[in-house]
Amino acid sequence: MPEKNYYEILKVSRNASIEDIEQHYRAVLYQVHPDHNHDDDASVDATIELVEAFRVLSDPKARKLYDFKIMCPMLTEGDIKGVKLLKSKEKKEAEQRFAEGVRAFEAGDLPKAVEAFKVALKLEPDYPEASYDLALLGTQLGNAHFALEVLGRAIKLRADDARLLKLRKSVTETYLNV
C-alpha cells in the first residue's frame, strides 16, 4: 500500500506557503479529529497522521529534509538498470552486498548499510545504484560532503545517469545552501 505523502494528507500543493499549510491543517483537523467525528480507530489514525504531517511541514528545516526524502527515494534491487548477463563472481557478490545494504537501510541500521554499500562499490566501482544509496545515507548521517564525493566518483563513470545528477543537485540545494 503506497503511503500518502504529507502534502496529500494536508491537501496542499508542494509549494504551499506556511499560511496555506496552517489553514488546511485546521480544516482537515475538523474533518478527521475523533472529537468531531466518529470516535473510531480510523479517525484516530487519520489524526495522528495529520498531526505528524503538520509537525514536519510547518518546520522549514524539517520540511526541506522531507522534500529531499520524497524527491530522492532510496534505490532497491528493482531499480537496477543495465545488462545483467555475463556476471562475474565479483559482480554477483556486489549485488548481494547491495541487497544487504538496502535491507539494513530499511531497518534503520545505517552504519551496517554504509558498510554494505562500501563493500559493494569496492567489488564493482561502476555501480550507480550503490553509489546513489551510499550518498543518500551520507546526507542522512549529516555528511553532505561525503555524499558529494561519492556522487562525483560515480558520475565520472556514468555521466548520463539522470538519477545521480538529480541527487547531486538536491544534495547541493538542500544541504549546502541552507
Partner: protein, 607 residues
C-alpha cells in the same frame, strides 16, 4: 434526550464545581445548598452515613479523624511518596498503605481508596445536577491538572465510574479554562494559563487560531497549591502558640483540623484585607485550664512566609516558555485560574513576570468546569466551532539494558499519538522479554514513575540481538496509554492498557460501583435552615454520647453540662436560621471544651 446530558466537572482539591449546557446555554449548576462550588470534603459518620460538601465540612469538628479532604493530593500516589509524607504530618485523618503501597486515607477505622472517596463528591454533584435538569445525568467530562500522571488520571476515571458516571474525557484543567474564557477565536493568539489550585500547580502555553486550541507546552507541580499556603499560616500559628503558651500543637489532630480551617479563612480574608484575625477558643489544655489562641496576621507577614512558594511557581513558567520556543513578549493573554490566583501577591508577581496584567474575563473558580462542559458539547456535536489539541505532559518509555529509560514519546507531544520502536534481546537463547513502562524525564528508568509491566513470551530462541520486537505506544485523547509488543518472527503479540499497578483492579472497582449504588441514600434535606438544624442535632447527640463515656474526668461537672446541653437542644427545634448558626457555634464550643478537658485528663485516675 437524556443521553445527551454531559456534566462538566472540575474535581478540585478543596472545592469542586460543575457546569452543563442547558437549553443551549452554558450554565454553572448550583448544588442543593444553593452554592456554585461544593467543598471536596467527605465525612464518614459512626452510623455509616456519608455526608459530602458543606455539611461534611461542618462535621469536621465533630469527626476530625473521619472527615476527609484534599483527597486529590492522594490520588494515584504511593504512601512512600515524599509529597504524601509531608501531608501526613499535617492532616488530621490517618493515611496508611494499601496492599499495593498506595496511600489510602482511613475513616471510621476503614481504609478507603482515594477514588472511592472522590466518587462520593462526584456522586453528590451528579445527584444535585439531576435535581436541576430533572433527568438522569450519566456522562461527564472530568478535569485533572495537566501535570497529572497516567496513574492519577486512571484513578480519576475510576472515581467517575464508581459514582455511576461514564467519563467521556479526562480533560486538562488549564486547557479547559482556555476554552471557557470567551476569547476572540478568529484572532491568532498565544495564551498562557497559570493555574494554582488547592493542591496543584500547572502552567500551560497554548496557541489559538481558527478555533483550534493547540497546547504547545505544559508543566507544573502536582503537589504545590493553596494547601501549602495554608500550611505556612498554620506553622506561624503553631510557633506563636508554642512561644506564648509553651504548648506544641503538632500531632494534636483536633487542633490541627481547627488551625487548618482558621488558616484557610485568614488566607481568604487577606485577599481583601490587610489584616486577618484568628480566634480559636479552647484550642488546647494548659496547666490552668483551657487555652485560647488569638492572633492578628498581617498581609505583610503572610507575603514573607509564602514568598518561596510564589517563587516556586515562576520557575515552571520559564521552563514552559523555553519548551514552547516562546518569549514572554510573545504571550498575548494571561489567564489566571484556581482560587489561589485571588491572592493579590500572586497576581502581582505573575503580572510582573510576564510584563502584562491578567485577562479579566475569567472566574477562577468556575472557568474550568465551564470548559469541561464545552468539551462535553464538542464530543456530543453541540459545539462545532472549537477543537482542542492537547499534549502529553511527561515523556514515556521502556526500561532497557542497564536500567536506562528508552523514550518512545517525548513530553509535549500532541495527543492522540503513536510510536513504534524495534528492540531486541540482550541474552543468547532468550525466549521472553519483560516490558517495563515508565513515565518521566530522568535518564534512569528507576527514577521515573513506574506505570506497569508485562511479559512477551514465546520468542524464538536465537543469539542475542537477532529477534526483533516492536514496541508500540498508543496515547488516546485522554492522555491514557496503551502498550503493545510484537515479535516480528513468531508474529506473537501482547498488549495491555496500562493500569496503574497501584490502583484498583476490575473486581474491586465493580464491587465499589455496587456498594456506592446501595449507599446512595444521601439525606435529601434541602434548605439552609434545615441543614443547620440537622447539623446542630447531630452535634448535640455527639456531645450527649461523649458525656456518657466512662473516662469522663472528675473535674467536669457532668450534671451542669447536661443541663446546659438540654437548654441548647430545646432551642434547636424552633430556631430560625440566624439563631441556628449561633447555636451551632455554641454547640461546637461545648464539644471542644468537653474534648479538650477529657484529652488532658485521659488516663489520670480521679483521686
Amino acid at each position: 434526550m437524556a443521553v445527551d446530558r454531559v456534566l462538566g466537572i472540575d474535581l478540585g482539591t478543596t472545592n469542586s464545581c460543575m457546569a452543563m449546557i442547558l437549553d443551549g446555554e452554558l450554565t454553572v449548576l448550583n448544588n442543593r445548598e444553593g452554592a456554585r462550588t461544593t467543598p471536596s470534603v467527605v465525612s464518614y459518620g459512626r452510623d455509616g452515613e456519608v455526608t459530602v460538601g458543606t455539611m461534611a465540612r461542618r462535621q469536621a469538628v465533630v469527626l476530625p479523624n473521619d472527615t476527609l479532604f484534599s483527597i486529590k493530593r492522594l490520588m494515584g500516589r504511593k504512601l512512600a511518596d515524599p509529597a504524601v509524607g509531608r501531608d501526613r504530618a499535617l492532616f488530621p485523618f490517618e493515611i496508611v498503605a494499601a496492599d499495593n503501597g498506595d496511600a489510602w486515607p482511613v475513616a471510621q477505622g476503614q481504609r478507603l481508596s482515594p477514588p472511592e472517596v472522590a466518587a462520593q463528591v462526584l456522586r453528590k454533584l451528579k445527584i444535585d445536577a439531576e435535581a436541576i435538569c430533572g433527568e438522569p445525568v450519566n456522562q461527564a467530562v472530568i478535569t485533572v491538572p495537566a501535570y497529572f500522571s497516567d496513574a492519577q488520571r486512571q484513578a480519576t476515571k475510576d472515581a467517575g465510574r464508581i459514582a455511576g458516571l461514564e467519563v467521556l474525557r479526562i480533560l486538562n484543567e488549564p486547557t479547559a479554562a482556555s476554552l471557557a474564557c470567551g476569547l476572540d477565536q478568529r484572532k491568532d493568539q498565544t495564551i498562557v494559563v497559570y493555574d494554582l489550585g488547592g493542591g496543584t500547580f500547572d502552567i500551560t502555553l497554548l496557541r489559538l487560531a481558527g478555533g483550534v486550541f493547540e497546547v504547545r507546552a505544559t508543566t507544573g507541580d502536582t503537589h504545590l497549591g493553596g494547601d501549602d499556603w495554608d500550611h505556612a499560616i498554620i506553622r506561624i500559628l503553631i510557633d506563636e502558640f508554642k512561644k506564648l503558651e509553651g504548648i506544641d500543637l503538632t500531632g494534636d489532630r483536633m487542633a490541627l483540623q481547627r488551625l487548618k480551617e482558621a488558616a484557610e479563612q485568614a488566607k481568604i480574608d487577606l485577599s481583601w484585607q490587610l489584616q486577618a484575625e484568628v480566634s480559636l477558643p479552647f484550642l488546647a489544655m494548659g496547666p490552668e485550664g483551657p487555652v485560647h489562641l488569638t492572633y492578628s496576621l498581617t498581609r505583610d507577614a503572610f507575603v514573607v512566609a509564602t514568598k518561596a512558594l510564589v517563587e516556586a511557581t515562576l520557575k515552571p513558567c520559564e521552563d514552559a516558555l523555553r519548551e514552547a520556543h516562546l518569549t514572554k513578549e510573545q504571550v498575548d493573554v494571561i489567564l489566571l485560574v484556581g482560587g489561589m490566583t485571588r491572592v493579590p501577591e500572586i497576581r502581582r508577581r505573575v503580572a510582573e513576570f510576564f510584563g502584562k496584567p491578567a485577562h479579566p474575563g475569567v472566574d477562577p473558580d468556575e472557568a474550568v468546569a465551564i470548559g469541561a462542559a464545552i468539551q462535553g458539547g464538542i464530543l456530543k456535536g453541540q459545539v462545532r466551532d472549537k477543537l482542542l489539541l492537547d499534549v502529553t505532559p511527561m515523556s514515556l518509555g521502556v526500561r532497557v539494558t542497564g536500567g536506562m529509560m528508552s523514550r518512545l514519546i517525548d513530553r509535549n507531544t500532541t495527543v492522540p499519538t503513536r510510536k513504534t520502536i524495534t528492540y531486541t534481546t540482550a541474552n543468547d537463547m532468550q525466549t521472553s522479554v519483560r516490558i517495563g513502562v515508565y513515565q518521566g524525564e530522568a535518564p534512569l528508568a528507576a527514577d521515573n514513575i513506574f506505570m506497569g509491566d508485562f511479559e512477551l513470551v514465546g520468542i524464538k530462541a536465537d543469539v542475542r540481538g537477532a529477534p526483533q520486537i516492536d514496541v508500540t505506544f498508543d496515547i488516546d485523547a485522554n492522555g491514557i496509554l496503551k502498550v503493545k509488543a510484537f515479535d516480528k518472527f513468531t508474529k506473537l503479540s501482547q498488549s495491555i492498557r496500562i493500569e496503574p499497578n497501584s490502583g484498583l483492579d476490575e473486581a474491586q472497582l465493580a464491587k465499589m460501583v455496587d456498594s456506592a449504588k446501595a449507599h446512595s441514600k444521601i439525606a435529601k434535606v434541602s434548605g439552609e435552615a434545615a441543614q443547620y438544624r440537622l447539623t446542630c442535632q447531630k452535634l448535640a447527640e455527639e456531645i450527649a454520647r461523649e458525656l456518657q463515656l466512662p473516662d469522663l474526668p472528675s473535674t467536669l461537672d457532668k450534671v451542669a453540662f447536661e443541663a446546659e446541653l438540654q437548654v441548647l437542644k430545646d432551642q434547636i427545634k424552633e430556631a430560625e436560621l440566624d439563631h441556628l448558626k449561633a447555636l451551632l457555634k455554641e454547640l461546637n464550643q461545648a464539644l471542644l471544651r468537653l474534648r479538650v478537658v477529657r484529652k488532658h485528663f485521659a488516663g489520670v485516675v480521679p483521686s
